[in-house]
Structures are given as structure tokens and as C-alpha cells.
């Protein structure tokens, strides 16, 4: 029996990314000394950062790229000592071969399916505890149980579901205790990430967001919080830390979204806090920014506890997806 060829989109994503990078390095498109950073690669290939990380580690082990004193990896085996080239990938005619492109496109579909399930599972948790039924999920999505299991294990990795005592997948409930714990984690990790990121933050972007706040263009707290993540914390070189921070925020933003969908008005005090925070970061007062961030998180935590009480007014949606069964 000959082994079946793996259909596009079924190979692990990091394999596909690795083969694209390998192709571009071996063909000489990316010269020695080119700096590879996860974010731009992920963006170009429309994936999340985790598989890019895995693929870079793989290429590093293969000796195609190597670590250096800065952020990311350098193309080359590290024998010579080329000056780091920090340029956009596109400028070097970066190419995604057709076969990989379709694999990524299938992956793109997977990503959309995943994103939908993630949103549904994150937002149900304010209503209580639910069992996630794998077969129902597969039926609901029209995918195989293998794919459904894939989705579930990713959700598990991101901390959105867990295995119960009887081996069932469980989600929720999002309680005041969960909320308090998540904010405790935020106030430990986010200031640490801000310190690490200080030298990697693009100050032009911080100036821009500050101007947008001042001119009233950006009012939405969720958007500002997202900017803080994107422009500051994600610049921290420790990508594992960045990932934990991002996962830890998932449930919190799901709750915020549920509340703003209800028409909860914006909090002007919070807007003002983001304004000050970006000002401190922009003027490179890292210690002050870190201290202010902690205080901001303390107040945010207190307000979120109060907002969680408001959730009690939201009736549980009639349109709950069929793969979620309430545990009472």
C-alpha cells in the first residue's frame, strides 16, 4: 500500500510556511543577513504567529537561518557576519508557490471556521458552563471529526475550553473569580511585556494613535486596548509571553463585546487613561508608563467586575449553536 499524498491544507501549517521560506531562501530571493520576524511573515501568509514561530525554529535547526543579538532570525548559517537587513519581504520579490498558496487558502478557510467557533465559545461563557459536543461541532461546521478535534485542541491550547472529569470538553463559566484571575495575570504580564518591548516600539505609531485619541477619531476602549497590544506588547521579543498575554485577553474581550453589543456607552475615564498611557510610552518614560499601566489595569479590573454584574441582564441567546449544551 502506497502512502496517500497529504492533500493541501491538511499538512501542519508550519510545514507549509517552512516550505515557502525555504523556497525563498534557497532561490536567493532573501539574501544572507535578511531579518525574519514573525509578525510580517504571519501577515503575508494570513496565519497566526504561532505556526510561523514553529517554522522559524525548524529552519533554525536546519541551519538555514540563525539567531542573532536582535529580534527575530537572520537568513544564513551564521558562519559569515552579514549586516542585518531590515526591509519588508515584498521588496525582495518574496514568492509563495502555487501549491503552498492553495494550502494556505484552505488554511484560511480553516482559520475562518476556527475564528467563528472561538467567538461563539468565548461569548457563551458569560451565560454559564457548557459542554462542547465534538460530533455536533463537526456536523454544524460540515467538517470531519478530525478537523473538529483540531479546532477543539487549538481552543484548549488557548485556554478557552478544558477537559472535564469525564473527559468531556467544557467551556465556562466566566465568573467574577475568573475575571479577577485574568486581570491579576494581566497586571503581572503586561507591564513586563511593556518593559521588554520598550526598545522595539515604533514611536511614529504611538504618536499617530495619540493624535487619533486627541482628535476624537478613536474612542472605543476595545480598539485602544487592541492598539496597546499590537503596538506595544507584541513588540516584546519574548514571543511566548506575547502569546500568553493574547490568550489571556480572549475571554475578557468576548465579555466586552457582549456588553457593547447591548449598547453600553463608552467610559470617558478609560479613554483618558489610554491617552495618558500612550503619552508616557511615546515619551519613553517606561517606568512611569509601567506604573500607570498597573493602575489602569487595577481600575479596569474593578470596572469589569461591575460590568460583569450587568451581564446578568442579558438573556441567554436563543440562537445558541447546537454543539453547546448547558451544564446545570
Amino acid at each position: 500500500m502506497s502512502p496517500k499524498p497529504t492533500p493541501p491544507g491538511q499538512a501542519p501549517l508550519y510545514e507549509t510556511i517552512s516550505s515557502v521560506l525555504r523556497h525563498n531562501i534557497r532561490s536567493g530571493r532573501l539574501p544572507d543577513g535578511f531579518v525574519l520576524i514573525e509578525g510580517p511573515i504571519a501577515k503575508l501568509m494570513q496565519t497566526s504567529r504561532a505556526p510561523v514561530q514553529a517554522s522559524l525554529r525548524m529552519l533554525n535547526a536546519e541551519g538555514l537561518i540563525h539567531r542573532f543579538r536582535g529580534r527575530g532570525y537572520l537568513v544564513g548559517d551564521g558562519q559569515t557576519n552579514p549586516a542585518p537587513i531590515r526591509r519588508p519581504l515584498e521588496e525582495f520579490g518574496f514568492e509563495i508557490p502555487h501549491i503552498s498558496r492553495s494550502a494556505l487558502a484552505v488554511r484560511g478557510t480553516w482559520q475562518r471556521v476556527y475564528d467563528k467557533v472561538e467567538a461563539e465559545i468565548a461569548s457563551c461563557q458569560i451565560f454559564g458552563e457548557f459542554r462542547v459536543i465534538e460530533t455536533e461541532l463537526a456536523n454544524h461546521l460540515g467538517v470531519s471529526r478530525t478537523v473538529a478535534r483540531d479546532v477543539l485542541s487549538r481552543l484548549n491550547e488557548r485556554g478557552l475550553i478544558r477537559k472535564g472529569a469525564t473527559s468531556h470538553w467544557l467551556a465556562g463559566p466566566l465568573t467574577a473569580r475568573t475575571l479577577r484571575e485574568k486581570f491579576e495575570l494581566r497586571s503581572i504580564m503586561e507591564p513586563a511585556a511593556l518593559i521588554q518591548a520598550a526598545d522595539h516600539i515604533d514611536h511614529a505609531q504611538i504618536v499617530e494613535i495619540s493624535q487619533q485619541i486627541d482628535s476624537g477619531k478613536v474612542k472605543d476602549s476595545a480598539e485602544l486596548d487592541d492598539a496597546l497590544m499590537r503596538l506595544c506588547f507584541e513588540r516584546a521579543p519574548n514571543s511566548a509571553l506575547v502569546e500568553i498575554i493574547s490568550n489571556n485577553r480572549l475571554l475578557l474581550s468576548a465579555m466586552d463585546k457582549a456588553l457593547s453589543d447591548l449598547g453600553l456607552p463608552e467610559d470617558p475615564v478609560a479613554q483618558d487613561q489610554y491617552r495618558i498611557l500612550f503619552e508616557l510610552i511615546g515619551s519613553r518614560q517606561t517606568d512611569a508608563a509601567t506604573a500607570y499601566l498597573k493602575e489602569h489595569l487595577r481600575i479596569l479590573s474593578f470596572k469589569s467586575l461591575a460590568r460583569l454584574k450587568i451581564v446578568a441582564l442579558i438573556p441567554e441567546s436563543e440562537s445558541r449553536p447546537p454543539y453547546l449544551i448547558p451544564v446545570h
Binding site: 458569560i126 451565560f127 454559564g128 463559566p173 465568573t175 467574577a176 473569580r177 479577577r180 447591548l262 449598547g263 453600553l264 456607552p265 467610559d267 470617558p268 475615564v269 481600575i299 474593578f302 470596572k303 467586575l305 461591575a306 460590568r307 460583569l308 454584574k309 450587568i310 451581564v311 446578568a312 441582564l313 441567554e316 446545570h328
Partner: protein, 404 residues
């Protein structure tokens, strides 16, 4: 101004008040209209509907009259605006129970949401106990509640008083009712479960998820054993349970004891040895108020503290935050019974003119100071309110079906 162009009769100004039947009495409105010279529209709703509508429909009212404990919902929704205390004429006469957390620094202030913890608007927009020049809600009517019991089953209380344990007493199996509202009913049940030794709470005013689970499991067991006859949403439903002789013990609020008809004297207000469950009401300003409408709203808030409204509140058993002002509007007999805990020297009438207290009766629990010194906990919207309220709602719904 062109006088000819003015309408034939001027439309009267209107202030819209949304609240519950605790303070939205027709008699209060009539007096306020007479004193203030503008119309007042009352929209009286049950507790949960009221807080929900206050939050999601902030344009639909000018004044919100509710309890401090639900400010967590309505304030953080952004539906209200801060009240400037320098525009409250009698601010200095407002009692320490609201302002300082208790009538004396030596008394225990009670678990849960003492009004002071939600009173002052802090600089970061949250509510807290540190005195500030703006407040969330003007404190007005308040009271301490317990449960009502049938003397034919439990006998008289004796010198030690009753115990919250009676509310889940096996002797009353099949004849127990609880109040529907989660920020209130759950505490009646919790006080009972702790008093009878079934459960202990580390902080009964802010239960953990595990404690809520244990309480709900206990209630479910008792439900299956047929303990409960049902729940009530409005006080007249509680009174109907008693008049139909369907309950031996249940959650009860003060005004109901004057409406028991033939069951008066048989069904009594308890003085639990563990202490009372307290609440504090007040009035808040809707966020949208400005200019002349805001001035009217302040006039109305100030009117609440002038005395007549407090006298009406007293006649249904509720206290007012500035009792001095109230005293002028009560007869010495009324003041003696309701505030001082003296035996009634004559029959006393309720707000609607019917006799609610007979000569010789004495208010259970005694004088104001005695009663409010014995607060076990306050009606509270706990941190885990979302979790608790959903569990409580399922339990209340299950009471509707026959016990298995």
C-alpha cells in the same frame, strides 16, 4: 413677546419618575405635585424590570427611585449622572446609616452593599465610600427586613427572638415561600441555611461560586422534598399566600404586615437573633437631564427630604434618612410606634387611610436605633451576581412546577 401667539393654556411641566412600589405611592405623588407646581408621572415596576429598563432605556425617565444595591448595574451602565451635594439643601441632615455605613462606629455595619460603599462618586468614575462632593443616589427611605411566621406553628418568639433557620424549617415543609428577587431572596435563603447549620459562608455578602453552588444544591434538595409552596414577586402576592393560609413562613417586607386582614396577629414579623437583612432606597438623576429639567429634578430630590414623603413612608413601616424632618409630619402616637418602638396608644392608619396598627401593638424589634443596630447584611449585588442570579432564576422557575 407676542402674547396673542401664546397657546390658550400652557402645558404643565412634567417630571417622570421610574421606580418600584416601595416609594412610588400615589399619595407621595399627589403631595409632591401640590408642593412643587409641576406634574409628576410614576412608572412603577418590579425590581428586576425596573433596573433593566433604567439601564437600557435611560431616556425614558428623569428620576430613578430604587435601592443602592442595584446601582452597580445602572451606574456602570452610564445611565445616571452624579448628584452635587451642594445642591441638596438638607445634605447635612442625612443619616449616618447612609453616609458613614452605620448609626455608630461601634455597631457592626453588616455584610454586603452598605449604601456608603456605593454612595460617593470617586474621581475615576467608580462608586466608593470616600466622601466626595458628588453622589450616585440621594439616600431616602430604608428599612430592615426579616421573615414572617405563623404563630400557630412556631409559637411566640420568646426573649431570644426567632432564627432565620425557621425559614427552612422542616416543620413548615410545603408551606414556605421566598421572594423572587435574586439580590434579596438568595440572602434570605443563605441566612436560613447558615442559621440552621447546613452551610457556612466565608462572606455571606460576597459568596464564592462554590458557596453559591452549595446553596443552590441545598435548595434544590429541599424543593424535591416539597418544602416550597412557591415564590412571590410583589408584596401583594406575599399577602395573598398568607390570606389563603398557604404559608407558615416566608420572606416578607414591612408594609405587608398591615395588609393581612384576618391573619393579623397570627402571621407575625420576626426579630431574628442573627440580625436583619437591610436595604436603603434613594433617588438618582438620569444622565440626559440638563438645564431647567435638571433644576426640576433637584427640586424634587430636595422635596423628598422635607418631611411629608417621609411621614408616608413611616406609615408603611419604612424609615427616612432625615428623621427629624419626618417627625413634624407624624402624630406623636405615630412617631412613638414607628420610630421609638412604643406600644401604639391608638389605632394607626397606613398611607391609604386604612388602619394598619391596633392600639397596644408594639413594633417587632423595637425602636429605630435598636433595629438598625442589628443589621446582619444588606441587599447586595455580589461580585458573582451574574452567576448567582442565573442559578437563582432557574430555581425560582423550578418552583413553578410540582415537586417530584
Amino acid at each position: 413677546m407676542n402674547r396673542l401667539a401664546s397657546p390658550p393654556h400652557k402645558k404643565r411641566r412634567l417630571l417622570r419618575v421610574r421606580g418600584t412600589d416601595v416609594t412610588l405611592l400615589a399619595q407621595v405623588r399627589n403631595m409632591a405635585v401640590a408642593d412643587l407646581g409641576f406634574d409628576i408621572e410614576h412608572e412603577s415596576l418590579d425590581f428586576l424590570t425596573c433596573q433593566h429598563r433604567a439601564a437600557v432605556d435611560p431616556q425614558g425617565y428623569d428620576i430613578y427611585e430604587q435601592c443602592f444595591h442595584n446601582l452597580d448595574i445602572v451606574w456602570y451602565w452610564g445611565a445616571l449622572q452624579p448628584i452635587q451635594t451642594d445642591r441638596i439643601t438638607q445634605w447635612d441632615d442625612i443619616g449616618d446609616l447612609a453616609k458613614a455605613g452605620g448609626i455608630s462606629k461601634y455597631t457592626w455595619h453588616g455584610h454586603g452593599d452598605a449604601p456608603m460603599r456605593k454612595l460617593y462618586v470617586q474621581p475615576d468614575g467608580t462608586l466608593g465610600p470616600h466622601p466626595m462632593s458628588t453622589i450616585s443616589m440621594l439616600p431616602t427611605a430604608h428599612n430592615v427586613d426579616s421573615f414572617g411566621f405563623d404563630r400557630r406553628l412556631f409559637g411566640d418568639e420568646g426573649p431570644e427572638g426567632s432564627s432565620w433557620a425557621w425559614l427552612l424549617d422542616r416543620r413548615a415543609r410545603g408551606r414556605i415561600a421566598l421572594v423572587d428577587e435574586p439580590a434579596i431572596g438568595i440572602f434570605d435563603a443563605a441566612l436560613a441555611a447558615e442559621a440552621n447549620g447546613d452551610l457556612t459562608f466565608q462572606d455571606i455578602g460576597n459568596m464564592t461560586v462554590d458557596e453559591i453552588d452549595s446553596l443552590m444544591a441545598l435548595l434544590e434538595t429541599l424543593r424535591q422534598q416539597g418544602f416550597f409552596v412557591g415564590s412571590w414577586l410583589s408584596p401583594d402576592e406575599a399577602e395573598a399566600f398568607i390570606q389563603a393560609d398557604r404559608v407558615s413562613v416566608q420572606s416578607m417586607w414591612s408594609p405587608s404586615y398591615g395588609n393581612l386582614g384576618e391573619m393579623t396577629g397570627i402571621f407575625r414579623e420576626s426579630v431574628p437573633r442573627e440580625g436583619y437583612r437591610a436595604w436603603h432606597g434613594g433617588a438618582s438623576l438620569a444622565r440626559h437631564l440638563t438645564g431647567a429639567k435638571l433644576d426640576m429634578a433637584y427640586e424634587y430630590l430636595n422635596w423628598w427630604l422635607t418631611g411629608p414623603a417621609g411621614a408616608l413612608m413611616a406609615r408603611q413601616g419604612h424609615y427616612m434618612t432625615n428623621s427629624k424632618g419626618v417627625r413634624e409630619y407624624l402624630s406623636p402616637e405615630e412617631w412613638g410606634y414607628w420610630y421609638d418602638g412604643d406600644p401604639a396608644r391608638c389605632d394607626l392608619k397606613g398611607p391609604d387611610g386604612r388602619i394598619v396598627v391596633r392600639t397596644g401593638q408594639r413594633r417587632p424589634g423595637g425602636a429605630y436605633r435598636e433595629r438598625v443596630s442589628r443589621i446582619a447584611l444588606w441587599n447586595t449585588v455580589m461580585d458573582e451576581y451574574n452567576y448567582a442570579a442565573r442559578a437563582w432564576k432557574r430555581f425560582i422557575r423550578s418552583l413553578g412546577s410540582p415537586a417530584s
